[in-house]
């Protein structure tokens, strides 16, 4: 058993080593995007919808990865940011008849505010307390949505109008597939640039040792707040397009399980590493679908596979490696 595991791990490691150079990763990414772009032509409606969902989770997982992977802050209520984006659009377009595109800037502002609200009071907390507070924040947002008139209470908001883009109405499942593919590509590029930015370095230092970072003049409060706000914006963008894709949103789309699922994608794939997080997002969405034939057993099997991955590769399938 142990030698077999060793051999697979060795093979997997070699495979990843091959794709660990930036140039090869770039080529791999371009190849994947090209393949993804032609996929709807060969896939049916059902498969395309699932892939659209997976792409949404790529955006969400990359956003959470900024908070958890880059800045090292635990967040168990990430779905709240996703909800803020979705509900901002829902409220503005349904209750106030705003145009979808005009509703995006206020939705992003709301997301930034949410990032500051959750970030501000929690910055002095260490990870375990942070987990509790972020979890609470996620639940507060969901309960508010369930009880406020403006968010449509438990039944949520429906009839969110389909957006049109220079006269072209974005409404088919294929349209939305491409919208989310574009968002995912943008999220990858943004994540990559953030990682290599000055702020990205500051996140790295704060994650490793915030006392040492502070002693060298890094404002840890601002750096951490920036992580929450950036992560929140990613989540909100996912939520914005999620709401118009479905046309209806309800509080249960933003539950604790949702937050955990996104966190699972980040941890499973390998915190901090973009390809790993993408892989994680695909696994958590496609995994249960591929196992669908097993019926009730699939979630059990899925859970066992996840446990095995965590046991065999505790730092994720494609972990961050530094030289």
């Amino acid at each position: 058993m142990s030698t077999a595991t060793g051999r697979t791990a060795g093979l997997v490691d070699r495979l990843y080593a091959t794709f660990d150079s930036p140039r090869r990763q770039m080529l791999l990414m371009v190849a994947i995007v090209v393949v993804m772009a032609v996929l709807p032509l060969v896939m049916g409606r059902y498969a395309t919808t699932i892939m659209t969902n997976a792409l949404l989770y790529v955006v969400l997982a990359l956003g959470l990865n900024i908070v958890v992977g880059y800045a090292g802050l635990l967040d168990l209520g990430y779905a709240a940011f996703f909800a803020v984006g979705a509900y901002s659009i829902g409220i503005l377009t349904v209750q106030f008849d705003w145009n979808f595109w005009l509703a995006i800037p206020p939705a992003l502002v709301a997301a930034c505010l949410a990032g500051v609200i959750i970030g501000g009071p929690t910055l002095r907390l260490r990870s375990d307390y942070l987990a509790i507070v972020t979890l609470g924040f996620g639940e507060i947002v969901r309960f508010s949505a369930r009880n406020l008139e403006i968010t449509g209470r438990a039944s949520g908001l429906s009839n969110i109008p389909e957006p049109s883009f220079f006269g072209y109405v974005i409404n088919s499942y294929v349209d939305f597939y491409y919208v989310f593919l574009l968002l995912a590509v943008m999220a990858v590029i943004a994540s990559h640039r953030l990682y290599h930015s000055r702020l990205g370095r500051a996140w790295l230092y704060v994650r490793h040792d915030e006392d040492a970072a502070e002693a060298m003049g890094i404002n840890r409060v601002r750096v951490k707040l920036a992580a929450y706000v950036t992560g929140s914006v990613f989540g909100a963008i996912g939520g914005i397009f999620f709401s118009v894709n479905l046309g209806a949103i309800s509080p249960e789309s933003f539950s604790f399980e949702q937050s955990v699922l996104i966190l699972m994608a980040v941890i499973l794939g390998g915190m901090g590493k973009i390809p790993g997080v993408i892989l994680g997002a695909f696994i958590i969405i496609l995994g249960p679908e591929l196992l669908r034939e097993l019926g009730e057993l699939r979630l059990l099997l899925f859970a066992v596979v996840m446990l095995l991955i965590m046991l065999l590769r505790p730092s994720g399938i494609w972990p961050e490696r530094r030289h």
């Binding site: 490793h208 502070e214 002693a215 003049g217």
Partner: protein, 238 residues
């Protein structure tokens, strides 16, 4: 004595309700090494932490370069050039020696200055240059201490606050570390040194304060204190 670059006046600090400093006065003249001595729990580390802003002074004032820094957050105090090298070194695990050094110059905007300082540090500590791509946390204790000092130098400190740089090192390395501290001082850095090895500290320092129960119990020229057998005996721990 010339105008002090750093002046601690009647500072009182607390951990919760427990008072750690009871009115501490310290003056650090530019270009000097000032030693802070005392037994465990006397308030040496708290003194450094209060200066660098990690612990708030509830009473009293701290001036750096004539400016009141008592209420400034730690990162701003660091940016002014008061750099704290805490006990335990805080080497970033999983990051290379070079990346650890780069943390020191993070706030330095000019890349030319960053390169120049890196070259200086590598010249001063050739072992760090040799190991620049190794994981900083895998260095030996003495090398880690050099890395911690090197990182502080990358920041371009005007005053270095050193907390027990010889802690946990073999006797030979202790002497070497003290020599390095002396060399840094001779190169122009003002140093406030907390050190358990009283004899060595008094050998390199210009002036020293002896803390006891959060108060300055004794002070004087290092050479004079070194003559005073009672002090050396009381704090030698041997």
């Amino acid at each position: 004595m010339t105008e002090p670059v750093l002046r601690v006046e009647q500072v009182e600090s607390f951990y919760g309700k427990i008072q750690a400093l009871r009115g501490v006065d310290i003056e650090v003249a530019p270009g000097q090494i000032i030693a802070v001595l005392g037994s465990n729990g006397a308030g040496k580390t708290t003194t450094l932490k209060t200066i660098s802003g990690l612990v708030r002074a509830q009473v009293g004032r701290i001036h750096f370069d004539g400016e009141d820094i008592t209420r400034l957050p730690p990162h701003e105090i660091a940016r002014k050039g008061v750099v704290h090298v805490p006990e335990g070194r805080h080497i970033l695990k999983g990051l290379s020696v070079q990346e650890n050094l780069e943390l020191g110059s993070f706030t330095v905007r000019d890349p030319a200055v960053r390169r120049e300082r890196m070259a200086d540090v590598f010249e001063r500590f050739p072992i760090l240059s040799e190991r620049r791509h190794q994981d900083g946390s895998l260095l030996s204790g003495g090398e880690q201490q050099m890395l911690a000092l090197g990182r502080a130098l990358m920041h371009g400190p005007r005053v270095l606050l050193l907390d027990e740089p010889s802690m946990g090192l073999a006797p030979k390395l202790v002497t070497q570390t003290m020599r390095i501290v002396k060399q840094l001082n001779e190169a122009g850095t003002t140093i406030l040194l907390v050190e358990q090895n009283v004899r060595l500290a008094l050998k390199i320092a210009h002036y020293a304060y002896v803390l006891e129960n959060g108060e300055i119990h004794n002070q004087g020229k290092a050479s004079a204190l070194a003559e005073d057998e009672s002090i050396v005996q009381a704090y030698l721990g041997a």
